[in-house]
């Protein structure tokens, strides 16, 4: 749990946003503030995090004098800041969170581990082994994949994995070791957790982040590729940081339909369509030229009404359509934050 402290800073952050990001709750509010805080690489990093666990942790940090909490906001005390900095120098720091949208890495890991186990046992001519207990769906996928492979499967995988691991080794040699020495196959069940921590000279709780990184790195290196492993995991890789429905809205909008028209033919509330566009503005800004949406007179009025850092703007409705007005407000705020904020910029799938 101690890594949680690294997700806070001297300036107040919304505690529910930090929690929502970890749990992969993709509301516009979470994504917007998550981007401002530079936390989008942590999206879905702790899907099973429980509210009670999180709140207990917050209270314990407040009691220790590391964190101040007021009205759903939390920020680090000077002592908390030095604890955070000490943690950052002593522990492994996640490197590839920007690819978190590519896949649920734990499912990806289960599927790949089972496939590699199967091939390892096959190559050692052993048919008496217990397959890894992964979901039925993953078992079926692996079996179908395996049946389509040639007898050269071992050599092919060795080649593909060597090229992936060589790249990973350049990024961080510890990750390449960890990947190979956690494989389960013929007469090997990998390092124990303690052994891995000792050999790689990291703390045990760091292994989680290292594993996440090595699988995300693999997901990234297989994304939109062809090959033996790519064929296995392709169905698990997201084509874009945007959920499918959001993507559909954005594409329609790019083809020139108005939001009202999209709302009508997709049978979605206008609020939902606006949320889609806001999500896209946050996650793939280059696909959404915001200035095309915003009427110039609104931009001019907002420039007078809202000044200073975008993060401190307080929305105040001035028209009789506050929904639309808030949509404009949020769009402008996102844009302003993206140009000013260094932290969040280009962190999350805005490249490729």
């Amino acid at each position: 749990m101690s890594y949680l402290l690294t997700l806070f800073d001297k300036t107040p952050r919304r505690i529910r946003v930090v929690e929502g990001i970890l749990q992969a709750k993709r509301t516009v509010t979470n994504l917007f503030w998550g981007q401002c805080y530079g936390l989008l690489p942590y999206l879905g990093a702790d899907r099973h995090l429980k509210r009670a666990t999180y709140d207990t942790w917050l209270q314990s940090q407040a009691a220790k004098g590391n964190l101040l909490i007021d009205q759903q906001m939390a920020w680090l005390t000077p002592q908390g800041l030095s604890v955070k900095q000490a943690w950052q120098t002593e522990h492994y720091q996640p490197q590839f969170g920007q690819w978190t949208w590519l896949a649920n890495w734990q499912q990806l890991a289960n599927r790949v581990l089972l496939a590699l186990q199967l091939v390892s046992e096959y190559r050692h001519h052993n048919r008496r082994f217990a397959p890894l207990p992964v979901s039925f769906k993953d078992k079926v996928a692996v079996r179908q994949w395996f049946l389509q492979q040639s007898s050269l499967i071992g050599q092919e995988l060795l080649k593909e994995l060597t090229s992936y691991l060589t790249a990973l080794e350049k990024a961080d040699p510890r990750l390449a070791d960890l990947f190979v020495f956690q494989l389960i196959g013929h007469e090997t069940a990998g390092w124990t957790e303690a052994e891995a921590a000792r050999r790689l000279a990291v703390a045990r709780q760091d292994l989680f982040w290292m594993e996440r990184d090595m699988w995300l790195f693999l997901a990234h290196s297989l994304w939109q590729q062809t090959g033996t492993l790519a064929a296995l995991v392709q169905p698990l890789l997201a084509p874009s940081p945007l959920p499918k429905s959001v993507q559909t809205t954005v594409e329609a909008w790019q083809r020139g339909y108005s939001l009202a028209e999209i709302s009508r033919f997709r049978h979605l509330k206008i609020g939902t369509v606006r949320e889609h566009l806001l999500q896209a503005t946050i996650l793939v800004p280059e696909q959404v030229p915001v200035m095309k949406v915003l009427p110039p007179q609104i931009v001019a009025r907002f420039a007078e009404q809202y000044q200073g850092s975008a993060l401190t703007w307080q929305f105040q409705a001035q028209t009789n359509d506050p929904g639309l007005e808030f949509f404009y407000f949020r769009l402008l705020q996102i844009k302003a934050a993206q140009t000013v904020g260094k932290e969040g910029e280009d962190e999350f799938g805005s490249h490729r």
Binding site: R128, A130, P131, L132, P133, L158, V180, L183, A194, E195
Partner: protein, 483 residues
């Protein structure tokens, strides 16, 4: 007579051919002979007797599906894995951990599997029973059969539905398996299954494990337990298991021992991801881990013969559970240690876990009428709810629950008696299970209060900790794929 001898010969050959063993463990042959003669059988065999062989070997001699009912959902996968490891037959698990749409797909292909593992709850579901009725069930195995008895510590009301399931499935032969069942529970099992005692053969093995040295170590407080373990474990050699009653403590102690001793220690509990559990079990089997700090979830799936000690950090809730858990030590027949750590007041934890306040009759009426969710009934909600929906009145239920509380307290007292007894612990155990006394040289700490690991034949085995090989991912990967 001639027929029986011929059968024995075949069985040993079959054992050698398919499993690579030359001799049966006690009770196995007697049980197998009866099953393969079509005789319904109740087998009461302490753990270590190789229960899974009793349904695995018949596969080679019977035609049809082998259906295994088990309450231990988390461990079913291990049992199926073991069959996969054996390599000749396909096995499948059907229970609440299998997602609904996966289950529907599975039901259509059930005929592809020789072994089907399921839980009583899943079996009771219409589509599942329907699909199974399409198959020819050669052998129905009821694992942990004592769960059907209200008199036992592990009573599960859903087991009461097995009687009907058996009648619907009409299996060729039925095998009831349990590790411990005193005579009155054995009888109750048959009654609840609606099986006539004269038509069921009973095979019973003694609970005594001659190669286990029994000991209790009293300490002043929990901290003293911790330091005692720290000093003792390096002298015991490995591998060993320490049982805890909470996941949190098992994990904390594993970390602490790992840091403060030179041993390889890992924590194991049902809260771990299945792949993590698989990895840990395999590492323990392959002697990469010296000590497992576990909850009671650990053990069933482990077929490890050379476990040298089983230590209980917390007192179990009864002798049945205790003998089952210590039975995992020394299956190879070599000396092993069963040690229980006791601090004053330890009995209050199992007491707390087993005693339940029965809700007021008014609340029961509300639940029965569906106006209140059964979850208000607390930790025993499943049991209470089952009764309420099977024609038991709130008043009868009050009596039943009160009686079960009394029985639970009795079992704890019996366990505490084992801790406190000033006489031989082995005789205490045997007496509790209605068996005759046995005298042996290495017996228990009541004969040998100042016991030392070496005198027990322990500690000779090197622990696995220290060998540091160099490693290289390229070599390892090439070896992994045999390239």
């Amino acid at each position: 007579m001639e027929r029986k001898e011929k059968m024995n010969l075949d069985l040993t050959a079959s054992l050698r051919q398919h499993f690579g063993f030359t001799a049966f463990r006690p009770g196995q042959e007697a049980t197998l002979t009866r099953i393969l003669n079509g005789q319904d059988t109740l087998a009461i065999l302490p753990t270590g007797a190789g229960k899974s062989l009793l349904y695995q070997l018949p596969a080679y001699h019977l035609t049809g599906t082998i259906l295994v009912i088990s309450p231990l959902i988390a461990l079913m996968q291990d049992q199926a894995d073991r069959i996969a490891r054996q390599g000749d037959y396909r096995a499948v698990v059907l229970n609440s951990t299998v997602e609904m749409h996966d289950q529907a797909a599975l039901l259509e292909t059930l005929g592809d599997y020789r072994f089907i593992f399921t839980s009583p709850e899943t079996l009771a579901r219409g589509p599942v029973l329907g699909a199974l009725r399409q198959l020819k069930i050669a052998l129905l195995v009821v694992d942990e059969a004592h769960c059907i008895s209200e008199w036992g510590p592990n009573f599960r009301p859903e087991y009461l539905t097995l009687k009907n399931a058996r009648q619907a499935l009409k299996p060729g032969v039925t095998l009831l398996l349990t590790a411990t069942a005193p005579p009155q529970i054995a009888q109750d099992i048959l009654t609840k299954m609606a099986m006539a005692p004269e038509q069921v053969a009973t095979v019973r093995q003694s609970v005594n494990r001659a190669n286990l040295f029994l000991a209790v170590h009293p300490v002043a407080d929990p901290l003293a337990k911790q330091h005692y373990l720290q000093a003792l474990l390096p002298r015991l050699g490995g591998p060993g298991v320490i049982y805890f009653s909470s996941r949190k403590q098992a994990t904390a102690m594993a970390n602490w021992l790992e840091q403060t001793t030179s041993l390889q220690v890992a924590a194991y509990h049902a809260g771990l991801e299945p792949v993590v559990r698989y990895r840990l079990q395999t590492q323990f089997m392959q002697n990469q881990v010296d000590v497992i700090c576990a909850t009671s979830a650990f053990g069933m799936g482990i077929d490890k013969n050379d476990i040298r000690y089983v230590i209980h950090y917390h007192m179990p809730a009864g002798l049945a559970a205790y003998t089952q858990e210590i039975g995992r030590a020394g299956r190879d027949g070599q000396p092993a240690l069963a040690l229980l750590l006791y601090a004053p007041g330890d009995e209050s934890l199992p007491e707390l876990l087993t005693q339940t306040e029965l809700p007021a009759p008014a609340v029961l009426e509300e639940v029965m009428a569906g106006r209140v969710a059964p979850t208000v009934l607390g930790p025993k909600a499943d049991v209470i709810n089952f009764y309420l929906h099977h024609g038991v009145t709130p008043q009868q239920l009050q009596q039943l629950m009160a009686q079960q509380s009394r029985l639970a307290q009795q079992r704890i007292n019996e366990m505490l008696g084992y801790v406190m007894t000033t006489a031989c612990r082995r005789q205490y155990l045997l007496h509790a299970f209605g068996e005759k006394p046995i005298e042996q040289a290495l017996c228990c700490d009541r004969h040998q209060s100042n016991w030392q690991p070496q005198e027990l034949g322990l500690g000779a085995v090197k622990t696995f900790a220290t060998v540091e090989r160099s490693y290289n991912w390229r070599q390892q990967l090439a070896h992994f794929f045999a390239c």
